[in-house]
Amino acid sequence: MNWVKYAGKRLLMLIPVIICVTFILFLILSAAPGNLARQLLGQDATEEQIEAKQAEMGLDKPLLVRYGLYMRDVVRLDFGESWINGESVLERFQNRLPYTLMLSTLAMIFAVAIGVPLGIMSAIRQYSLLDYGTTFVAILLFSLPAFWLGTMCQILFCLILRWLPTSGITGWKSYILPTVILGANTLASMIRMSRTSMLDVIRQDYIRTARAKGAAMQVVVRKHALRNSLIPIVTQMGITFAGTIGGAVVTENIFTIPGIGTMLLNAVKSRDVPVVLGTVIFVTIIVGIINLAVDLICALIDPRIDLAS
């Protein structure tokens, strides 16, 4: 089946997902305690002022109507303004997306470029010192929480050694620590995933067949094992990448990177509904695209996958 058609179908399938997710979010946020109008105007505001503010925010209408109005605007690509500071949601998202994307991409490259080769080599030299060593490192990275590792690295590299800036984005050096911290977890899972995948593939019969044909082990690994072991790795990469888009909150917080994670978290905490919904819609679309890309790549690698089915 033509992959363009397939891609189109998949993207269209995102629409029901978005509707479902936003509706559930809408319900939850509406049910949560906390009256934003009252909060914004302060304790001393009169009831009329609060009611006026609520009408302005559209909070006086019933839930379904509000949801309908919101979705109608979304279709017109109007994602509204933040209830807290009036800034356009779309603009705010566009300002912050590049940082998050940059950070996520760098973290993925870091994790994959180091983790996959290490994992594969561990698998080939199973039970060697290299194997034990990388497994140890991987488990360590898994276990150390990001906020601890991040703060420790800050103290070491920024305060004591003064090699790197503490926070914010002031140049290419600012990306080094956040990339490593964000990528640490993914690195660990890449090592484990590659190792497991390669171990699995090496035990397959066709590897034995290839060797029986007279191919050296190195050649066999490169030509036969690698491609087959990549399939689960690519899938894992897709899942992780999608996760780092919205989930880099801790890293963003520690290193003060103006990314999407913090924006979303703050919006939820302060019940800024337009920002929450807008961000979730954008993130859903991005994640959907990433998943699609991953599936297409897998189909490219593995001829057994038939897109039409």
């Binding site: 705010r92 703060t151 914010g168 963003e252």
Partner: protein, 537 residues
């Protein structure tokens, strides 16, 4: 062989884990610098030894970066939006008020060189300074003052800050008369508040509210340069400032969400000032010679308010038991390392009209035995007594200490730490059963701040603001009288509250500031203002 290797690795792991958990904490040493509240003495500085790490020379540096987690974003106070303490970071530097609020809560001259109050307390005459210009070069006149007050009064915080304001009359280009509906002793504090920053009428007529918000103009020592949401706000020195051009030419207010990062950045030299760090962070900084900190009483009262309309707290004996069973010094030690002041009444000592034991205030001492007696005399049957607090705040620490103290005298006390919107909601609507620990901040540094919790006019809305209409009466008389004549009313009112034990005032909240040692003149301010024009390297 494989087994031996596994055991060695396991051992290594355990060592790493142990090493991680024994994280070294900073040692306390060096002198802590605190600012006495009443006398307003200047901060003592320690003549430190040379620092061990070579620091770049800060001489002649004219840019400072302030790290804050709460971000300012409303830059025009008199508009239809409210504005809060975070916004005041910028407002107090973009604008000047007629009167200036000092760090210790006293008032000095601002854009008004002097003022008089009429005999009946209903008219305030302000004599404006001449030759003051706005950032766009236009002169500041009585028109701008009238515009500021008329417009500000219409907004959501107008009635709260410009209490009893009726009108502003222009007498001549540099004289205005403010007329009040009723006498209000704390009116000058409203004038000096964030709502009283004089705005430029002509500019407003030109660009409207939205334009003003986006590019604000004032007479203050700093001009607005830019605001990047979620990131920073930049201000530049106003060279034609009437008090003289400030030495610090650029101020960047940087939003840094994580407090650890703020402090690391300060120690690193990335930031020059950190806004309101918590007390345990400050005491940790004592060991770093490059950094100093000081604190002062804020205008906030940390008070525990009990729901006397429902639940166990509806029984007076129960409330008296709670009142006697709380040890405020312990709370002070736990939450503020002893740096705060304990309170006996719901007022801060820096308030105008503040009353003390000398004026007749009655004090209830900590007495757990007495508390148990009260409890026995009450109808308390072991029900849960829940204290609501804002999760993760100092108030939560206070609540936990109180919980332990109350459990000791036999009250089944629980702490409910909820997220901010839920916390605000519950308090604004007063629909709770048990107690709330709140930090009652008064923008007016005056005893009148006590009245907000006792307004009978909100009774109809079902909000349990007023405990006792008599209290409202007394406080209304207190705000109308002038000078010492106010005191008897407040004494009587506070004593009623103490007698009925509606509230237990706990501590006077403190504001802190941490900064690089080379930066001079940095003082913590009772309202959390930062007067950047005074700082220099």
């Amino acid at each position: 062989m494989k087994r031996k290797l596994s055991s060695i690795l396991a051992l290594l792991m355990v060592c790493v884990m142990v090493g991680c958990s024994a994280g070294g904490s900073g040692d306390t040493g060096g002198s802590a610098v605190t600012q006495a509240a009443e006398t307003g003495s200047s901060a003592a500085q320690d003549a430190g030894d040379a620092s061990t790490t070579a620091e770049p020379a800060a001489e002649g540096k004219d840019t400072i970066i302030l790290a804050t987690s709460g971000e300012p974003y409303r830059f025009f106070a008199q508009g239809s939006q409210s504005c809060a303490g975070d916004d005041n970071l910028v407002l107090s530097n973009l604008y000047d008020c007629l009167l200036f609020l000092e760090p210790d809560g006293s008032l000095t001259e601002g854009l008004a060189e002097s003022y008089e109050v009429s005999e009946d307390g209903l008219t305030y005459t302000f004599h404006l300074r001449q030759g003051v210009t706005f950032h766009n070069g236009m002169p500041m006149t009585a028109e701008d003052v009238k515009f500021t007050f008329d417009t500000g009064f219409q907004g959501p915080i107008g009635a709260a800050l410009f209490v009893n304001f009726e009108s502003c009359e222009i007498i001549d280009e540099y004289t205005v008369e403010m007329h009040l509906t009723e006498p209000y002793a704390a009116f000058p504090y409203g004038v000096a508040s964030r709502l009283g920053g004089i705005a430029c009428k002509a500019y407003y007529d030109e660009v409207g509210e939205e334009g003003y918000m986006a590019a604000p103009i004032g007479t203050g020592p700093y001009t607005f340069v830019e605001y990047v949401s979620g990131d920073h706000t930049t201000m530049a020195a106003y060279e034609d400032y009437w008090r003289g051009a400030p030495p610090i030419k650029t101020v960047i207010i940087q939003t840094v969400a994580d407090t650890n990062t703020q402090i690391l950045g300060l120690q690193n030299g990335d930031y020059d000032i950190v806004r309101n760090p918590s007390i345990d962070v400050c005491t940790r900084l004592d060991s770093d010679e490059n950094v100093e900190w000081n604190s002062t009483n804020s205008t906030g009262r940390i008070t525990m308010s009990m729901s006397e309309w429902t639940g166990p707290a509806s029984d007076k004996n129960f409330r008296k038991a709670v009142q006697a069973g709380i040890n405020k010094d312990d709370i002070n030690d736990a939450a503020f390392a002893g740096y705060a002041e304990t309170l006996d009444i719901d007022m801060c000592s820096n308030y105008g009209g503040y009353v003390t034991v000398d004026d007749g205030i009655e004090v209830v001492e900590y007495d757990p035995e007495k508390a148990k007696e009260y409890l026995a005399a009450s109808s308390y049957a072991g029900e849960e007594f829940a204290i609501m607090v804002n999760s993760g705040s100092t108030l939560e620490t206070c609540a936990k200490v109180i919980q332990a103290q109350l459990m000791e005298i036999g009250i089944n006390c629980q702490v409910r730490a909820v997220d901010n919107p839920t916390y605000q909601d519950g308090w604004n609507l007063r629909n709770y059963e048990g107690a709330y620990i709140v930090n009652n901040l008064s923008s007016l540094v005056d005893a009148d701040g006590i009245i907000t919790g006792h307004r009978t006019d909100r009774w109809e809305e079902g909000l349990h603001y007023a405990r006792d209409p008599e209290l409202y009466d007394l406080f209304m008389k207190g705000r109308a009288a002038q000078g010492d004549a106010r005191k008897p009313f407040y004494v009587e009112g506070c004593n009623i509250i103490t007698e009925e034990a509606y509230d237990v005032p706990l501590l006077n909240d403190i504001t802190t500031v941490a900064y690089r040692s080379e930066l001079k003149n940095v003082l913590a301010h009772c309202l959390g203002n930062y007067n950047f024009r005074l700082y220099h390297y």
